[in-house]
């Protein structure tokens, strides 16, 4: 009898530990990594390094909030990387080819990037293609569109266009500021806060989650389901394009597929965010925490001189673990 009760007690305790870890594991891991990197590498401790990490995750975070919004409706936007690339190409062309001012260039680039959202929404909502596959298609389409538009993928100051036309436009200094700290960090935090408030405290955020939870029940509750799914894809494209603009400001030129590399860490961040604090839903703050974890890992590993070509192994593993935690929790 005592053996049995003991056995039962231990059975009970074990899930509690698992439960705790799946809630707070991410934050715990961040601290463990911080301590580990600081202990092994004295250079890591300097405050400028923390700033470096925050700065380096800004773009990933913003793009990841886009994915997060698409996840709320039980969708998945794989095209965010291409949207970012596209936005970079657009905004650079406006500066370098046409000499536009900062505000005009940013606004037009953001608006034009929403074309991707429109195509996504059309494929997913109207033609009823599975989200992942539809956005896989648009991912390729708009990668190609960006390349074609730029004539090979890159634009930088003074570089002539593909047909040989010389260019005279300059990248405004105030635009470059966007990509520097503290502005880049502030922008990131403001965006995370806005998305968080939108998802958590507004009617629309509530509806997005409901649509993701049970589409038929949402529809029969009088929610315009298709409108909200469309909204989700527009928001995710808008956020991804914003990430692209920040990226453009950071590197000061358009490069071939410059946004593509952000897809994977952004997906990882969004999925790690699911389980942070036991929310078990895609959420903006969790996504930020996820991005910090991914960024910290990447930074620390680079400083430990792990070669960049091996980094993907680690990043991929982190993604696998994040997915494991998310989906494992879903099934109990």
């Amino acid at each position: 009898m005592t053996a049995l009760t003991e056995q039962m007690a231990s059975k009970k305790r074990l899930p509690a530990v698992v439960d705790f870890l799946s809630k707070w594991g991410t934050i715990l891991t961040i601290f463990v990594l911080l301590i580990f990197f600081s202990a092994t590498m004295p250079s890591f401790r300097t405050s400028s390094n923390m700033v470096t990490i925050m700065r380096s995750i800004a773009i990933v975070t913003v793009i990841a909030t886009g994915i997060t919004v698409s996840l709320t409706v039980d969708g998945f936007d794989l095209s965010v990387g291409s949207v970012a690339t596209f936005a970079v190409a657009l905004v650079m062309s406006f500066f370098v080819w046409y000499g536009w001012g900062t505000i005009l260039a940013i606004v037009v680039a953001l608006v034009v990037s929403l074309v991707v959202a429109a195509v996504n929404a059309f494929l997913i909502v109207k033609l009823r293609i599975f989200d992942l596959l539809a956005t896989l298609a648009t991912m390729f389409i708009f990668e190609g569109v960006a390349m074609t538009y730029t004539g090979g993928g890159s634009i930088s100051e003074g570089m002539p266009r593909l047909d040989g036309t010389p260019t005279f436009g300059k990248i405004p200094a105030e635009f470059r500021l966007i990509g520097q700290s503290p502005y880049i960090i502030v922008i990131m935090l403001v965006i995370v806060a806005l998305v968080h408030v939108f998802l958590t405290y507004t009617k629309h955020g509530r509806y997005l989650y409901i649509v993701g939870g049970n589409r038929e029940a949402a529809r029969l509750s009088g929610i315009p389901v298709n409108r909200y799914r469309t909204l989700a894809y527009f928001l995710s494209a808008l956020l991804a394009a914003t990430g692209g603009i920040i990226l453009a400001a950071r590197i000061g030129s358009a490069q071939i597929n410059s946004g593509a590399g952000y897809l994977m860490p952004a997906v990882a961040a969004a999925f790690i965010g699911y389980s942070v604090a036991g929310i078990k839903k895609p959420n903006a703050v969790g996504t930020l925490v996820g991005a910090i974890l991914v960024g910290l890992l990447e930074n620390g590993l680079i400083m430990m001189s792990v070669p960049y070509y091996s980094l993907n192994i680690i990043k991929g593993l982190v993604l696998a673990i994040a997915l494991a935690i998310t989906y494992y929790r879903k099934h109990d």
Partner: protein, 504 residues
Amino acid sequence: MQPKHKLEMKGISIEFPGVKALSQADFAVESGEIHALVGANGAGKSTLMKILGGAYGHYQGEIYFDGQKVDIRHPQDAKRLGIDVVYQEVDTALIPYLTVAENIMLDVMANEMQGKHFIRWGQLHRRAREVMKQVGIQLDTSTLVENLTLAQKQLVLIARALATNTNFLVLDEPTAPLSQTETEELFRLMRDLVANQNIGIVFISHRLPEIFEICETITILRDGRVVADTTIETLTQQRLIELMLGHRFDETYPKMPVPIGETIFQVEELWEEQGRVRDVSLTVRAGEIVGVTGLVGAGKTELCKTLFGAYPIRSGQVRLHGKPLKITSPHAAVNQGVTLVPEERRKEGILVDEPVYVNLTLPSLDTFTRGVDFVDTRAERETARQLIRELGIRTPSENQKVAFLSGGNQQKVAVGKWLITDAEIYIFDEPTKGVDVGAKHDIFELIGQLAKRGKGIIYASSEIPEILGISDRIYVMYDYTIVKEFDTADATEEDILFYSAGGK
């Protein structure tokens, strides 16, 4: 003569966060008998049977099989003893995109295929057909389960249970979605199983006349405790309800006298796109409760859904206060003052992963917003608490996930969320399915209050006594159209049945 088996549960207690679902419950059933398990919503019936089926491992208490102590902690433990449970939510136990044969043989494939790797399709279908013959279902074994009616799914689950060696069969509210004929069919099967196959059956239902019709012994649960364990002859229905609810209860319909006004809702020659509604015309007056009845499959649900925009309208007119409505989607319907409480709560009515309050305020969320669409959660919770009280929803708080409520309490949430919307026309599709007698009464009362406020109500149900009890006027449906209209005062159950069955 096969040996009789006896299954006993002793001192069973189980807790969930914030809820003591069972305390010291005793329960026993023998082969060859049909044993009723009754109690109000949330009394712990399903939980007790889930323990028996091995779905929960964390209970206290003991289980004996033929006097021998057994440890049931996992579904396999129960299967080994020949205990099969057909759970309340049939849909969750079936795999919709597999065939009838595969679904029936699922347990066999899962448990008897050790060491074998190839499926022998011919044999699979043959064995499935044998079991089906025993159960009396006539179906092509290669039909996909998603195309079956609820009644057929129910039978497929019973067939699955019987495909493996079965000593005890638990049926948790099997008759809730069934029509009268289908129920009769099921009862015939149950009687055959106890008489000829030496199986013991546990039967759960909120339809008390059924209990008296088919069961010999009964256990009554109240708030997780056993309050009676006896033979059915010693009880009257009145006494049973008292034991179940813990107080005297007058089982009459609370029909309030409401002055009936002008016609407010008119439907003319309505056709649904795929002919699931055929040439239906009806009217509803202010303060009037209009019953829509007919057998399961007569097209009541289809009519409700079409009026609500969930199915596309091919032709016809729908007018509210004389103004033609454009019902292109449920969203449009709600905006124009038409609401529907849908029939299949799990799929259509509730969000199981959301807390109770989110479910309750969902259709009326607009009235809980401030400023730029910010949700006022305080007001929202306040309203939710009030509804929980009014409907007697059994939940530790408004923050509980709906998945953790009992079936009947989930139904109350599915109904409750529409009662606070501000609409003109309320359509209810089988709103009392799986709800206990006390709660039924509460729901009728709330519907009565809507009528009193001058709303128009369409109440679709195949429970004729209910329709007779609360409606002012009745439409009878057959084959997707309305075949007869009655003033409730002039209607009898026989008349309604006659027209329901296609009589002219």
